[in-house]
Symmetry: C2
Subunit: 286 residues, 2 copies
C-alpha cells in the first residue's frame, strides 16, 4: 500500500517522540523536525510505500541524534512484559486448536508497537490485555489455508521486540507441522523492531531452522537491501508469514504470493486497505 | 510563545481531521495535506507564533475544501453539552468564592477544544467531568489580583464554542464587581472557536456591555487584523482576560500588560512555557 494522507502527521509525531527518548536539546530537536518535515514532504510527493519513506526519515533522524538505537529501553520493557505473559499464552495455545491459537497469540504480540498515533501500548497489564484480545479473536481468519502451507518452506518476517517472544510460540507450532522455518529480523536497530539480539532473548534459534536479516534494518522489506540468502528464501518460500503493518505496506505492493499477513490494524490507513476496523486482528492469506 | 518542535505533527493531525469532517475525497485530502505540509514547513522555518502559522494553514485548507466552517457540527454539540452543564456550574459558583469559582468554571470550559493531539474532549459526560475538574482546582491561582483589576475596563477574549456558555458566568461576576466588559469573539468561523453566533447562543449580549470581534477570524489575535474598536479597547484595558492556548501564544509575545491567562494546558509546549503540567488549569496574571 502507498503512503496515505494520514501518514505524515503520524510519522512526524513518532520522530518527535524518539528525539525526546534520548535528548532534551531543544535546538537539536528543532533542527531534526525541520529536516524530517523536508524529507516527509519529498517522500509524500513521490507517493511511494510509507514504510520505505519512514525508513529514510528515521535513518536521517538517528544520524542527526547521533544514536543507533533510541528505542533500546522501550524494547527491553516490551521483551520483559511479553516474557511475563508467556505462561498465559502457552495455556491458551494448549487448549483447543493449537495452530490457530498460536497465530492469535502472535498477532496480540503485534500490539507492542510504540509510536503509532492513536494506538496505545498496554503498559503494565499485558497479561490482562492478552486475555481480552484472545477472546475477541480474528476479524479475518485464513488460518486453515495458512496451516496447510506451513508444512513447507516458511519465511517468517518478524516485526517488534516483545512481539518476537510470542512469535516463538507460533514457530514451535509450524515446526510441529513439519515446516522449515527461516526467521527474519531487522539487520540493524530501527524503531522498536526485533533484531538478532531480540531473537536471542526470545530463544528463536532453539526453534527456527535459521535466523536471517533484512540487511540494513529497513522498516519492513526493501528489496535492494536484502542479503542474498534472505532473498533466495523469499523467492522459494511455500509460505511467507508477514508480521505487522510495515511488512504489510511493503509486501502488499510486491510480487510475492502465499503471504500470510498477521497483524493488528493499528491505524486507519492500514485498516482501510485491509478492509477491517482499527483495532481488528487479521490472519489473511494473499 | 514561538512555534515548538511538537507543533507541526499536531497541526497536520488537525488538518487531516477537519478534512475528514467534510469529505471522503481521498485525492482532494491528499492535495490538501501536501499543501498544508508546504505551509507548515515554511512557517516552521520562520519560527513565528504557532497560532498565526496555524491561522494561515487552516485558511488555505478551508479554501481548498470549499467550506467556511468544517467544525459547525462539532460546535453545535459543544454548545449543547455546555448548556446541559450550566445548572451544575451555577451551583458550584454560588457556594463559596463566587468570582474564583466562576474563573475555574470558565477554565474547565476551555476543555472544549477539538483536535489538540493527545487531548481528549469529554464527550457525553461533561457534567461529571466538570465536577472532577472543579475539585482539582488551579495549578496557578492569581484570582485575587485578577478580581481587583476586574472592576475597571475589561476586555474578554473568548476561545471555543461550548466554553463560551461558561464564560457567560464569569462575565456575570465581573459585572457584579462593576467592570465594563468588552467581549471579543472570532470575526469568522475558525476551528471550534466562538463567533458572534455562539455569543448569541450563550446570551453574552445580556451580560456583557458590548461584543466585538478579532476581525478576520484569526486563531487568537493578529494585531494587523484587529478592527479599530477592538484595538482601542485592548490598548485602554485595565484587564485583558485571555482564554485558551491560541490567545496565550499570541499575547505572551505582545506588549500588553495586565493580561489574565485563563487556560487548561492541553499540550506539552504550552504547559512547558507556562511552567505547569499537561492537564493543569491556570489563572495567571502577567
Amino acid at each position: 500500500m502507498r503512503i496515505h494522507a494520514r501518514c505524515p502527521s503520524c510519522l512526524l509525531n513518532r520522530v518527535y517522540q524518539e528525539c525526546r527518548y534520548i535528548t532534551d536539546d531543544e535546538d537539536l530537536i528543532g533542527r531534526i523536525m525541520e529536516r524530517a518535515m523536508e524529507i516527509v514532504l519529498e517522500e509524500y510527493r513521490k507517493k511511494g510505500v510509507n514504510a520505505v519513506s519512514a525508513t529514510r526519515v528515521h535513518r536521517e533522524v538517528y544520524r542527526m541524534l547521533g544514536t543507533h538505537d533510541p528505542y533500546a529501553d522501550v524494547k527491553k520493557i516490551a521483551n520483559e512484559q511479553a516474557m511475563n505473559a508467556l505462561p498465559v499464552a502457552r495455556k491458551y495455545i494448549e487448549n483447543g486448536d493449537r495452530f490457530r491459537n498460536a497465530v492469535i497469540a502472535s498477532i496480540i504480540g503485534n500490539s507492542f508497537d510504540y509510536g503509532v498515533l492513536g494506538h496505545e501500548v498496554n503498559d503494565g497489564e499485558f497479561e490482562l490485555y492478552f486475555e481480552r484480545e484472545f477472546k475477541r479473536g480474528l476479524a479475518i481468519d485464513d488460518t486453515d489455508e495458512i496451516r496447510h502451507l506451513a508444512k513447507g518452506n516458511v519465511v517468517y518476517l518478524a516485526d517488534n521486540a516483545g512481539e518476537i517472544i510470542l512469535d516463538r510460540l507460533l514457530v514451535e507450532e509450524i515446526k510441529r507441522l513439519g515446516g522449515f522455518v527461516s526467521f527474519v529480523v531487522r539487520g540493524k536497530p530501527v524503531l522498536s523492531d526485533a533484531t538478532m539480539e531480540d531473537a536471542r532473548i526470545a530463544g528463536i534459534s532453539e526453534v527456527a531452522d535459521e535466523i536471517l536479516t533484512n540487511g540494513k534494518g529497513a522498516i519492513g522489506i526493501i528489496e535492494e537491501e536484502l542479503p542474498e540468502d534472505t532473498k533466495e528464501r523469499l523467492e522459494n518460500a511455500d509460505l511467507i508469514i508477514s508480521k505487522g503493518m510495515a511488512n504489510y505496506e511493503c509486501l502488499s505492493e510486491g510480487d510475492y504470493s502465499n503471504v500470510a499477513f498477521l497483524l493488528k490494524a493499528k491505524c486507519e490507513p492500514v485498516a482501510g486497505d485491509v478492509g477491517v476496523k482499527v483495532g481488528d486482528m487479521v490472519a489473511m492469506l494473499r
